[in-house]
């Protein structure tokens, strides 16, 4: 059972503390009494000590964050535990406002807190109705096709309108390079926007100390006060990584690194689907009232897109090929009996994969309505975590951007992702003649630890057959 570590009141009058430095990293074993972190309040630094034993599963806040008393800062539990609810959170409200005024300086613990003053949300698979009893660990998020949005913070006050971070399971942590640096060096680096990676530390074991930042610091300072004769025209703009960017980077690297991926491409003839869809459009156009009634969506007509059709076909094909509807779980493969299709949606800061649950059991119209709703709320960053986690297979479509074909990166722990290209007319051989046909290319990226070449190929063949014979989607 995971236990939250909270910011302790080191004094009855203490309202918040700045987490100076983590002494235990995610994944570290922790015994009761171990020092987890240093906390600074006023002019005093005190150590935050573990009250529970186990593994430090997650840092909820990053070093430098200012955290109100009794807010959680970390989670201790067993390695398999779901760290669920709380995502990483920056407490740094204090830093920003007071910074300019010198006299308020002592209380103000500075900018470090600002770095992370974003609300975020952890991920947890939906506690959905018909899921197996043993919940999987939160599907690590943020791979190629995933990104988590910032759900509205309940209070609405702290949310700067951004971010999130992935509460990745402990085993994922080694993927993140950790720079040994003193808290001061980290702070100076953060304030100056200096990346500690690549700086040679002169402290013990290469630890980066403040001195090592001097050259860098000097540059940063001179740039803040450019000589008037030479207007500062920077040839570049440095943008610190947002949490989502960090998460995407880490997750993608993690995916392409350890996941032995192979790719299968096929081309699907879309003529009949095209015709079917044209007919359906004509029908709903001519009989709008009927369409509205049928849609059951509060009178909103829903037209079925090619993407919806593809999702439906994928879901039905997965039913026939459960070997492709699976999660890689390190020590086992989890074959899902349910089909939850993640669909990649581009949003302003990245991408996210809302999930159409039980897509195999839904009608095209239902899928269309749901995907439209999910995509819309994804762009407004109003998805709940359970709406973008727990998918069993992903579909990424760049056809609307005129991409002929591409390879997508698998969204672990899922074992495969389908990249959908544009539908375009091509001269092809058809019934002993060269004719123009509408064609669409599909490329499936497969985790070879789960799916073998023939397995993936059989799935694709089924999928192709379904798309070329749209009646199979109805039957």
């Amino acid at each position: 059972m995971p236990t939250n570590v909270v910011m302790e009141a080191l004094s009855p009058t203490m309202e918040e503390g700045r987490l100076v430095e983590w002494k235990k990293q995610e994944g570290d074993a922790v015994a009761v009494g171990d020092v987890l972190a240093e906390v600074e309040t006023d002019k005093a630094v005190m150590e935050l000590v573990a009250r529970a034993a186990g593994t430090l599963l997650k840092h909820i806040v990053e070093a430098g964050a200012t955290v109100p008393v009794s807010e959680p800062v970390a989670v201790i539990g067993s390695p398999g535990d779901d760290t669920g609810e709380g995502g990483k959170r920056g407490g740094g409200e204090a830093g920003a406002g007071q910074r300019g005024s010198g006299a308020s300086g002592e209380k103000d613990r500075g900018a470090a807190g600002q770095r992370d003053s974003k609300e975020s949300q952890g991920t947890q698979p939906s506690p959905g109705q018909s899921r197996p009893v043993s919940m999987p660990p939160a599907p690590p998020a943020g791979a190629a096709t995933e990104h988590r949005p910032s759900p509205e913070s309940p209070s609405g006050s702290k949310d700067n309108g951004v971010k999130s971070d992935s509460p990745a399971p402990a085993r994922d942590q080694q993927a993140e390079p950790r720079v040994k640096a003193s808290p001061l060096a980290r702070r100076i680096a953060a304030e100056r926007g200096v990346n500690l990676v690549g700086i040679t530390g002169s402290g013990p074991e290469g630890r980066v100390v403040a001195r090592d930042l001097e050259g860098v610091a000097a540059k940063a300072q001179s740039s803040t006060a450019p000589p008037p004769s030479r207007p500062a025209a920077q040839p570049y703009t440095d943008v610190p990584l947002s949490q989502i960017r960090k998460t995407i980077a880490r997750r993608l690297a993690q995916s392409i690194g350890p996941v032995p991926t192979f790719y299968l491409t096929t081309e699907v003839d879309m003529e009949r689907i095209w015709e079917a869809r044209q007919a359906q459009l004509a029908l709903s156009g001519a009989k709008g009232a009927v369409g509205k009634l049928e849609s059951g969506e509060g009178g909103r007509d829903v037209s079925v897109s090619f993407n919806d059709i593809t999702i439906k076909a994928v879901a039905l094909a997965l039913r026939q090929h459960p070997a492709c509807n699976a999660w890689w779980q390190d020590d086992r493969i989890r074959y899902w009996n349910e089909v939850h299709v993640s669909m990649a949606v581009a949003i302003e800061e990245g991408l996210i994969t809302p999930v159409i649950r039980h897509a195999d059991q839904k009608t095209l119209r239902e899928i269309a309505a749901e995907s439209r709703d999910l995509a819309g709320r994804a762009r407004e960053r109003r998805l709940k975590p359970e709406e973008y986690t727990g998918g069993t297979f992903s579909v990424s479509n760049l056809g609307m951007l005129d991409i002929d074909e591409f390879t997508a990166i698998i969204n672990p722990p899922e074992a495969a992702i389908l990249a959908v290209g544009r539908i375009g007319q091509k001269a092809v051989g058809h019934e002993d003649a060269v004719v123009l046909r509408r064609r669409m290319r599909l490329t499936m990226s497969c985790d070879h630890r789960v799916i073998d070449g023939a397995t993936g190929a059989q799935f694709l063949k089924t999928l192709k057959g379904m798309l070329e014979n749209p009646l199979t989607l109805v039957w």
Partner: protein, 252 residues
């Protein structure tokens, strides 16, 4: 239960070795090998220390400039921003078990301030505190700085009171991160510079003030066996110009 405050005047000692001594005493206190509260008093060679609250711009001086003035630099585990220690400054490191007093960091910080204010009153200086600016002030000028570290409720680091410090050293930095702060000293406030006498008077006043603030009986001792010698470990090599390599990893 002992209510003694063992006062150990270390005299003139390097920052690094006394830092190690403090860490060692703190460890011993946690382990129960020491049962008395202790106040170390010391006068350091010139050194700049960077606390955990140090902001990037607080030490604008270049290493070369610091070296030219013979000032070492340490990154340490205490709270607060940058500060200076050096000749003419009375530095106090109380190794106090707060479980015997109150498990309350703010209470302890306020006690340190009260002890210094009491000491200064004995010297004839009306000093006080400023809300949100831990330390001791008189007429808007800063006389003493405070920064502590607490491990399992045992304190170390402490306070630094300018007696007749060469205040120009503070120009090397933005002391405590407070821009435009004016540092002052007992000597300057009293208009006295009879070095030896003033130092002794201040020392006695501080011992009395601290003991009073912490409700302890001061006992001045020659070094008891247990901390007669600093316990050296790690890379503690005492004073050296720009001691950036000093790893502030606290007690293991």
């Amino acid at each position: 239960m002992s209510t003694r405050l063992l006062v150990q005047d270390l005299g003139h000692r390097g920052y690094g070795e006394v830092l190690e001594l403090q860490r060692s005493l703190c460890r011993q206190r946690i382990a129960g090998q020491i049962t008395d509260d202790i106040l170390l008093l010391v006068e350091h060679e010139p050194v700049v220390t960077l606390g955990r609250g140090t902001r990037a711009g607080s030490l604008p001086s270049s290493p070369a400039e610091l070296e030219r003035r013979g000032v070492g630099v340490f990154e340490v585990e205490r709270g607060g921003d940058v500060t200076f220690h050096g000749p003419g400054q009375l530095v106090g490191y109380p190794i106090i078990d707060l479980r015997r007093h109150r498990e309350d960091l703010h209470w302890y910080l306020r006690r340190l301030e009260a002890g210094l204010v009491g000491a200064l009153r004995l010297l004839g200086i009306e000093a006080g505190t400023r809300s949100g600016l831990t330390g001791v002030w008189t007429g808007g000028r800063k006389l003493a700085s405070i920064g502590i570290h607490v491990k399992q409720w045992v304190t170390f680091h402490g306070f630094a009171l300018n007696v007749n410090t060469d205040l120009s050293y503070f120009d090397l930095m933005i002391p405590c991160g407070i821009r435009d702060v004016v540092m002052t000293s007992v000597s300057r406030e009293l208009g006295r510079d009879d070095q030896g006498g003033l130092w002794e008077e201040t020392r006695h006043a501080v011992i009395a003030g601290m003991a009073d603030a912490l409700q302890l009986q001061p006992v001045e001792e020659t070094p008891p066996q247990q901390f007669a010698k600093p316990v050296a470990f790690g890379e503690a090599t005492g004073f050296s110009p720009y001691h950036g390599r000093f790893d502030p990893t606290p007690l293991a």
